[in-house]
């Protein structure tokens, strides 16, 4: 019997939703917190630094580094202005919230690694401060995720694949990162899409944006 259609529970939405300059999911919005969730190696540090690039053309931007490992070279490759990137190192979770609050008082955009042990109420205060000061913030929890109600948009790394290396030959040239977006910034839905970059240019969308339809609703 021929199949006329298949209900998958998913729809495809326009790609502009992700990559539209200024309003897309991959553009930081003033006063909003974007959360990046994923293991080290999943490609989120480079993505987080890349999100700072447009803001660095106007004023200094900050990377709040809890391990002392963030490489400015990667940030420069993604388009962050070299003179405008300041790296603030803070490995003490007790001091972290105080330092982050001081920075939010003045900078326009910040990528912040969040160490384990930061209190939920401190994170909520910081999100409120970011809203009040209209600072675009990317938070990357070092373990687990942020408590609910803080992030406007949550980007979770589902998988990363690298091209170029072949059993001793070649070199890493390009990576593809599968991301899942959720939260208010994703219109309350869960979207999945794949982006690609070669390290020296902007991130490109290389897949359809697939939205999970709501299974349950309260009306």
């Amino acid at each position: 019997m021929p199949i006329e259609g298949l209900v998958t529970g998913r729809t495809i939405v326009p790609a502009e939703l992700v990559v539209q300059p200024g309003t897309g999911l991959l553009d930081l919005q003033p006063g909003r917190v974007t959360e990046l969730v994923g293991d080290p190696g999943s490609g989120l540090t480079r993505l987080g630094l890349r999100l700072l690039a447009p803001h660095s053309r106007l004023a200094p931007v900050v990377a709040l580094d809890t391990r002392g490992w963030i490489s400015p070279e990667a940030a420069w490759e993604t388009g962050v202005e070299p003179d405008r990137l300041v790296v603030v190192r803070c490995d003490r979770s007790a001091m972290w919230a105080k330092v982050a609050a001081a920075l939010l008082e003045g900078v326009r955009a910040m990528y912040a690694e969040v160490p384990a042990g930061v209190e939920d109420h401190d994170l909520r205060r910081l999100a409120a401060l970011a809203r009040a000061r209209r600072v675009a913030v990317v938070m990357r929890p070092m373990s687990g995720g942020l408590p609910g109600g803080i992030a406007h948009l949550r980007l979770r790394a589902i998988g990363v694949t690298w091209e170029g290396a072949d059993r001793g030959h070649g070199r890493l040239t390009r990576r593809r990162l599968v991301l899942e977006a959720s939260g208010k910034g994703a219109a309350g839905t869960t979207m999945r899409f794949e982006v690609e970059d070669e390290g020296t240019d902007a991130v490109r969308l290389v897949s359809d944006v697939v939205v999970d339809q709501a299974r349950r609703a309260v009306g």
Partner: protein, 481 residues
């Protein structure tokens, strides 16, 4: 005016002291064609035999402070422009000592009594700009007293404007138009310069004509002074630096809503034994956050290191003067108000964490990702590069660069199968290596006892890593996160 060099410079070697440009040089280096103010690279090419030292303004301020103190004992209210250059208001002193020659002679004699071996130059003229260049033109030990300031300035080369104009772009344009001296410039109609170059053009014309910047007649409300008191006297340099930078930041924060910035500040400290010390600093341009906090810090460091504050600091005050509305002119294409706010936030973060935790980086040459970055403390002079950026660096690890680079070699376990990487241990679990690139040879400096090593890019299902293998040990050099 007094030429300073690095105090630790060897006296028997040719020496070049630089920031971006040459700030001091020994005789043999000057004979090779190097001039003060010459770009660093040009000077290094002319005098490759010279030992190149980085300028240290904090140390210069410490050395210069006794000079300022001695001169202030003769003539009150001296204004330090930068370490090595101070302005002395001589009107009152001339009435007291009888003539300008007598004042200059007294100052020169006092400096000789101090036992300063570096030759000092003294110039007297109408206004700070003319006096500064009179000092520069004076023979060491023979003060130059200018009676006709306009005529004196007219013979100066246009380059004299470089410090006051903050760059050479406009000066280069003037030269291109055939204007070579300040006199040539002063003869041009001011309104023509105003229409072609705007405010900077008028400022240049005013200086060239001997009309120095008028002091803003606005009164300084006393509440604009900022002050900090300390129950436990500040003795350590770190604590003094935090206080200096915070207070400088606080002063400009208060001035900001008024739309002004100071050209002159008076820094006052009270020591634990009740002694008070005071020094005035002046700047041709209105002080920015960074410029002011540097000067306050240099001055406090000079006092603390010369044991001039017995028992530590119990009170610190900065009083602004000569306020100017030019200080907060916002740019059209860059968001300067955001830059100012960000600088304040970074200064606060620096006060909380310490100066070593707020950093900026510059690119330099190197083969490994960690080598290709040179870090400097934010707000302080840049750390000199260790490796030439423009050299070819064959065998450098290719782009894209790892986003995470450990500051120290981080041991990692790799399992090998017939010379090929098969598994890598990440935390407590082993991950199969899906593919890899390398090995790329990294030759060690054998004369320094360094071993050769191989680099690999390892790709696993959870990400890619840059590893260095040397002998039977492996290290994580970067994470492609």
């Amino acid at each position: 005016m007094w030429s300073l060099t690095r105090p630790d410079a060897p006296s028997d070697e040719p020496v070049l002291v630089v920031d971006d440009r040459v700030t001091a040089a020994s005789e043999d280096v000057l004979e090779a064609g190097v001039t003060l103010g010459m770009p660093r690279r040009e000077a290094e090419a002319l005098a490759p035999f010279a030992l190149v030292l980085r300028r240290d303004p904090g140390e210069e301020a410490r050395l210069f402070d006794p000079v300022a103190t001695e001169v202030e004992a003769l003539v009150p209210r001296v204004e330090v422009v930068s370490p090595g250059l101070m302005l002395v208001p001589v009107e009152g002193a001339v009435r007291f000592y009888g003539s300008e020659e007598a004042v200059a002679g007294k100052i020169g004699a006092r400096l000789d009594e101090l036992g300063i071996t570096t030759p000092h130059q003294i110039g007297i003229a109408d206004g700070p700009f003319a006096a500064r260049w009179a000092a520069a033109e004076a023979e060491p030990g023979h003060p130059l007293i200018v009676t006709d300031t306009t005529r004196f300035l007219s013979g100066l080369d246009l380059g004299a404007l470089r410090e006051s104009m903050g760059g050479t772009e406009m000066i280069d344009t003037f030269r291109w138009l055939g204007v070579e001296t300040l006199g040539d410039l002063a003869r041009l109609p001011r309104e023509t310069l105003a229409s072609r170059f705007g405010v900077p053009g008028v400022t240049a014309h005013r200086l060239a004509s001997g009309e120095d910047r008028a002091v803003d007649p606005r009164e300084i409300p006393l509440e604009l002074a900022v002050e900090m008191s300390f129950e436990d006297p500040l003795e350590s340099l770190d604590a003094v630096e935090f206080a200096a930078r915070n207070l400088a930041d606080e002063l400009l924060r208060r001035l900001r809503p008024l739309g002004v910035a100071p050209h002159t500040v008076t820094i006052t400290v009270t020591a634990a034994d009740g002694q008070t010390r005071e020094r005035v600093w002046r700047s041709a341009d209105p002080f920015t956050e960074r410029a002011l906090s540097d000067r306050v810090w240099w001055q406090l460091r000079a006092w603390v290191e010369s044991r001039g504050i017995p028992g530590g600091i119990v009170m610190l005050r900065i009083l602004p003067a000569d306020l100017s509305g030019e200080g907060r002119q916002l740019g059209l294409f860059t968001d300067e108000s955001s830059i100012v706010e960000a600088e304040r936030a970074l200064a606060r973060a620096q006060a909380i964490l310490g100066p070593d935790q707020v950093l900026q980086a510059r690119a330099q040459g190197g083969r490994m990702p960690g080598e290709r970055v040179v870090w400097s403390r934010w707000g302080e002079p840049e750390t000199p590069m260790e490796r030439d950026r423009v050299a070819p660096w064959p065998g450098a690890t290719p782009k894209p660069s790892p986003a995470l680079v450990p500051s120290r070699p981080h041991p990692i376990d790799i399992e090998w199968d017939e010379g090929m990487p098969s598994r890598v241990r990440l935390g407590s679990r082993w991950e199969p290596v899906l593919t890899w690139s390398g090995p790329w040879r990294l030759s060690g400096r054998w004369w320094a006892g360094e071993e050769d090593a191989d680099r690999y890019q390892l790709v696993t299902s959870v990400g890619a890593f840059l590893c260095v293998v040397s002998g039977d040990r492996a290290y994580l050099a970067g994470v492609y996160d």
